[in-house]
Amino acid sequence: MLLEVKDLRVNYGNIEALHGISFSVDEGEIVTLIGANGAGKSTTLMTISRQIPHVAELGGKVIGGSIIYQGEDLLQYEPHQVVSKFGISQVPEGRRIFGNLSVLENLMLATYARKDKAQVRKDLKRVFEIFPRLEERKHQRGETLSGGEQQMLAVGRALMTRGRLMLLDEPSMGLAPVLVRDIFETLKEINAQGTTILLVEQNANMALKLAHRGYVLETGNIVLEGTAAELAANPEVKKAYLGG
């Protein structure tokens, strides 16, 4: 098992957002967490990345549980170590591109902790192969990109950290359907090339088509789990998340 979240409890002030959730991700898998707004999906990813509690602005706190990755509890580590020591990257909700940096600077910042310059060059080439649009715009400021291009950049940045596990928070948000299909197609390729993916989505339809397995999160609890096919066929899931 690559990642195992056990009985994780997180709160914001007096409000408990995660009531002890447990799930796991195996090497090579695409696992999805689906659920409505406010179910705790982003909180889960931000806790794995240790932004909660280390980014004080988010205001969250871990009050119980563990996040075991390769035999170590991530709760012992700082956020940057989750990336640099363990190779867990995140494509955050709303993409959070550095709009004041160029596309190239955004990508190179993600290599902050890396010393393998030759491999960095190869990875940059690979990102530009996957997203030729980013190469065309590499000297443009991030804030001048369209929403779809920003999403490409956010995924490209995660690739540049050379992580083994990529966490994605709502990559479909605010994108036209054709762009969503492109992004999901790319994620499939990235996974096929060896990156394990944990995908958080409100767009359950697309997520279950891509994923191998999934979990349904409802107001801080995991209420269902199964293979993507099982979940897609589940009447409750159909009713609540797949529009009938």
Binding site: H54, A56, L58, P79, H80, V82, L109, E143, R157
Partner: protein
Amino acid sequence: MTLGIFLQHLLNAMQWGSFYALIALGYTMVYGVLLLINFAHGDIFMVGAYIGFFIATFLLGLGAGTALALPSWVILALTILGSMILTAGVGVTIERVAYRPLRERGANRLYLVITALMIGLFLEYLNLSTLGAADRGFPELIPTQVYTVGGVSFTNIKLIVIGLSVVVMIGLEMFLRRTKIGIAMRAISYDKVAVPLMGVPVNTIIAATFVIGSSLAALAGIMYGSAYHVLSFDMGILIGWKAFIAAVVGGIGEIRGAMVGGFLLGFIEIFVVALGQVPGFEWLSSTYRDLVSFTILLVILTIRPTGIFGVARRQKI
């Protein structure tokens, strides 16, 4: 005003602008990464000047009058370097001891600003109580020479101050463009939440920001001491306030803003006084200097509330 006199004022303006700009850079860089107005920064300038004073005095005393005495350029270089390093240590210590614990507990920014004000007072009165109220005379590290070229006279100190500031600012600009730490500093100023996701240790970047800001203030302190020779415990207050205003007028958080704002303030101050010497403007005595210059800055801020280079941030979702 003849061209010669104009050029002379221009050099004065650039010298004052250098002091303001170097200090303003520290304000703006810390604001960029922490959204904190570090009101202790003017006093860091004072600390830098005093540390420089002690290093210089010590080095001048070494083998004084004998063949072992150090050449003056070595003393100047060691004074600048030593003061920059030690003052950077003071800045980082303040960050570590006073600001970081508050930050990590998610304290409201107001408490950080108040803490910064208190740290500033602490530094002033630490100086006053340990060193006494008497002003110190900053030693002459390199003999002042006056050059006169085509009716314009200027000192070697003035040229060094301006030259060194310009070099340092170009260096800083390159550092922020070319190095990963520099890029990370710019990234934090845009979005703190995403920076750790890039594998960047945020506290290291914040510490580096204090290192740079404090060492630039130390450099300004030594240059000020070399140009005016008088140090006092409260020397950082007014100049710090003015540099802060320069940073805001330039656009707080923007590096170019601090440079432009600093030089702009230097120019306005010098030329308000210069104008008072022009026939017809004699009523504009030098006591009007700050009144007129801050009126001009207020007008600029009214027209552009975010400062000259500041932009209101927007994010695409």
